[in-house]
């Protein structure tokens, strides 16, 4: 069987040294694909963030005329007033971009691609060609989504969850026309990309580990990426099925999501027999695992960064793996908590509620393990470490409100209010962005061979965490008072007028937060060309990627792939000379990598 492997990888790796196109554009090297994912993700993230600034301005100053809007968004901002239809389009595309393009593809696309081969000790992904396809499907999908901003009627406006009938009837609202069709095409391309990537990640982790790299010696990043890929692989196809039915409902006259409620608006042919709730089930069967597809890579990165920068072994390695697996399994059976108000049988609701609240257990295991790892550690407060600690903070703050929202009775009151907006922006949005930032600062030397500026990193961190809390924390109170999300303006309701000041505060904080990202962008792009050259192992880390040379080689290691003799977390081992022992260093007298290494390295 190993003959086959030799032959396959040998065939696939043959033609690689080439010109500009094969090196930078249609590259099959996982490190280059990781950079492509990251830079595309950053561009998409910037666009998504600018959209949020535009609709935040509208919420803070609903009556003010902002003539510059016409310069940015053309006829959608006629006379300096944001068009209500375009407001809906902005929140929809902001959500879509952030959830799928930044925090799914940008986060796990970047770091799974970069770290899986390097940390498990493989020359490249199982199929480098499929890996390249995965990026280009993602790229096409991004282009289609961005082009939909320019079509007649504007882009999709039904919210990022695209519930029918707004998404199923092309005549429902302006954004239900061509824009919605393009949203669905973009999503089908995105799913193709996610599946191609996911199949590769799983096969690489399971089948291409170096000698001695047992599953129980994998860094927690890899465990997180593996479970993430499995979640994506099993949940995205369901969205594919759901989207397929939606496309038929929109364009071919079927009525899978059409019931008597919408029939009279459909015009022409009578459209009954289906149910809009069916779409919600199919959507949230993806939608809830999607939350963990976003969060788990960030948690994996955090585990790695916190252990390295605390100079301590991660607390409860096996408990961490178990909690990742538990979160992964539970995420598939709790989608109904997004649908408590759909007229669900209260008994069924209580089953979904129970499952949801049980997720608090593995989440708490992870949180306490992070805190226990930090406890009495020799903390190196690099920007990556700061962002990782920031993630733990958001994970706690946002996670606590999840316990409220998971409660079927409370959710009926809180559903579709700003409480929900606050909850998921903290626990999934900010936490995952912080995990991504942490990963970027930590693995930047691996990605580009240079270091980012630390001072700028610290300023970026403090401004971002303060503004993020200032933006999302007050939203809890607005939500408890009943302010609904997705409304263009709340001025028509007396009871919400008291929140005008708070909205202005949030918007100013959001603008500040956006400006802070400018520091990051400058630091990021400046350092690619002018940053300080990185040493091979800048953070004194144990994992295999730091045993590879700084210059990117095709095949990662110049000679043989290093063998692995120990787990990834031998930091500050009593009696050892250094405070870290890389995974490829054998024990004194250890010859077989598969032996259990617990002692000190041979060099001692």
């Amino acid at each position: 069987m190993s003959d086959h492997n030799t032959q396959h990888s040998h065939e696939e790796h043959e033609h690689h040294e080439g010109g500009f196109f094969s090196k930078y554009v249609f590259s099959m090297d996982h490190k280059m694909i990781a950079r492509q994912f990251l830079i595309t993700g950053i561009i998409m993230g910037t666009i998504g963030m600018l959209m949020s600034i535009i609709f935040r301005m509208q919420l803070a100053y609903p009556d003010m005329k902002m003539p510059f809007l016409e310069g940015i968004i053309g006829h959608w901002g006629k006379d300096g007033k944001l068009d209500p239809n375009f407001y809906l389009a902005l929140i929809t595309i902001h959500g879509t971009i952030m959830v799928f393009y930044v925090l799914t593809a940008g986060l796990s696309g970047t770091f799974s691609n970069l770290l899986i081969p390097l940390q498990v000790g493989a020359r490249d992904m199982a199929s480098p060609f499929m890996n390249m396809l995965s990026y280009w499907f993602f790229f096409l999908s991004s282009v289609v989504l961005l082009l939909s901003l320019f079509v007649d009627g504007g882009p999709a406006s039904a919210g990022w969850t695209v519930y029918p009938p707004l998404s199923a009837l092309p005549q429902a609202i302006p954004g239900s026309g061509t824009g919605m069709t393009m949203w669905l095409i973009a999503m089908v391309l995105f799913i193709a990309s996610a599946l191609l990537g996911g199949i590769n990640y799983i096969a690489t982790v399971l089948n291409m580990r170096t000698k001695g790299m047992k599953m129980t010696r994998l860094p927690l990043t890899i465990w997180a990426f593996l479970v993430t890929a499995i979640l994506g692989l099993l949940s995205f196809p369901v969205l594919l099925g759901g989207s397929l039915l939606l496309i038929f409902d929109r364009s071919f006259g079927t009525s899978f999501y059409m019931s008597e409620i919408v029939a009279e608006f459909a015009g022409g042919i009578e459209r009954t027999g289906g149910s809009p709730i069916l779409f919600q089930h199919l959507f949230w069967f993806l939608g809830h695992p999607e939350v963990y597809i976003i969060l788990l890579p960030a948690l994996g990165i955090t585990s790695e960064v916190i252990a390295t920068n605390s100079r301590k072994p991660i607390f409860g390695y096996r408990a961490m793996i178990a909690s990742i697996l538990a979160i992964g399994i539970l995420s598939f059976i709790v989608w109904g908590h997004h649908m408590f108000i759909t007229g669900m049988n209260p008994f069924l609701g209580s089953v979904f509620m129970l499952g949801t609240l049980i997720i608090a257990v593995p989440s708490a295991v992870k949180t306490f393990n992070y805190l226990a790892t930090l406890w009495q550690g020799d903390l190196k407060l690099t920007p990556a470490m700061m962002f990782a600690i920031g993630l733990v903070s958001f994970f706690i703050t946002g996670g606590l409100t999840g316990i409220y929202l998971g409660n079927a009775a409370l959710d009926i009151n809180l559903h579709d209010t700003y409480f929900v907006v606050a909850h998921f922006h903290l626990v999934m949005g900010s936490a995952a962005i912080f995990g991504m930032m942490s990963g970027i600062y930590h693995w930047y030397p691996k990605l580009f061979g240079r270091m980012m500026n630390e001072t700028a990193g610290h300023i970026h961190f403090w401004l971002t965490i303060i503004s993020a809390y200032c933006v999302f924390f007050p939203m809890h109170f607005m939500g408890l008072a009943g302010v609904p999300r997705r409304y263009y303006a709340n001025t028509a309701y007396d009871q919400f007028n008291v929140f005008v000041d708070m909205n202005q505060f949030i918007t100013i904080a959001a603008i500040l937060g956006a400006l802070a990202q400018l520091i990051f962008l400058v630091n990021f792009f400046y350092s690619i060309f002018k940053g300080k050259r990185s040493p091979q192992n800048p953070w004194n880390s144990n994992t295999l990627e730091w045993t590879a040379p700084v210059e990117h080689l095709h095949g990662n290691w110049p000679g043989e792939i290093p063998h692995v003799y120990r787990w990834a977390y031998d930091y500050s081992k009593p009696g050892a000379q250094e405070d870290f022992i890389p995974q490829n260093v054998p024990d004194a007298g250890q010859t077989d990598p598969n032996e259990e290494a617990t002692g000190l390295p041979a060099t001692h």
């Binding site: 030799t6 043959e14 000790g121 199929s127 096969a203 089948n207 291409m208 594919l240 397929l244 899978f256």
Partner: protein, 250 residues
Amino acid sequence: MATNTLSTEKKFTWGGGKSPFNVSYGKLMMWIFLLSDAFTFSSLLIAYGFIRYSFQSPIPNTIVKPLSEVGHNFVEQMNEAGLFLQDHWPSPELVFNHFPFIHGIHLPLFFVSLMTFILIFSSVTMVLAVEAGHRMAKNEVAKYMLLTIIGGAMFLGCQAWEWTTFIGEGARLYGNPYGPRSFAALFFIVTGFHGFHVFSGVMLNVIIYINVLNGTYEKRGHYEMVEKVGLYWHFVDLVWVFVFTFFYLI
């Protein structure tokens, strides 16, 4: 390039010892893909179940017996007899009762049974092709691959005939003469999606067949590609068993 090849050969040998599932990564990837594809089909079948069970069960047929002679206006007769109603799911045996070249005789599910038999038989020939591949018997692999391709093509032909008949009776994506308008739409979506998979499978089989004839795998020293398309083909077959059960039998 020759020296480069030599140097990379050693460099790219996987040094990971025994792989966990003792399969090559290519086969593992096919398994993982099939798992994810199973979820796509499940989502469609669950949508089918969700919609079907929002209607009442089919009315038991006590009027027409198998092999009995019926007129050409069978659907209208059933409508008049009250067996096709708007709030009842139609009984599949009253809908799929046609057979090529035999007109006016009630043959419930005869044709779809034949289709199922053809597809399952093509799975058998696929197994034989894989087995011959293990023995490196090139001519036998080619023979059984060809039989598999013929089986797949026959199945697709049968499906085309069934769709044509169905459409000829007035079934459309937006309505049909049998009752709930979702019935035909779901039929077209689910069997269409499955047919698309069979079509892709036949195309893959043709590519592999040509490679077998050209001796590509003989030179490579193994017929693993035949095994990989074999996995896909069996999966498509297995999915049909579910489609057949849910659409035609219950």
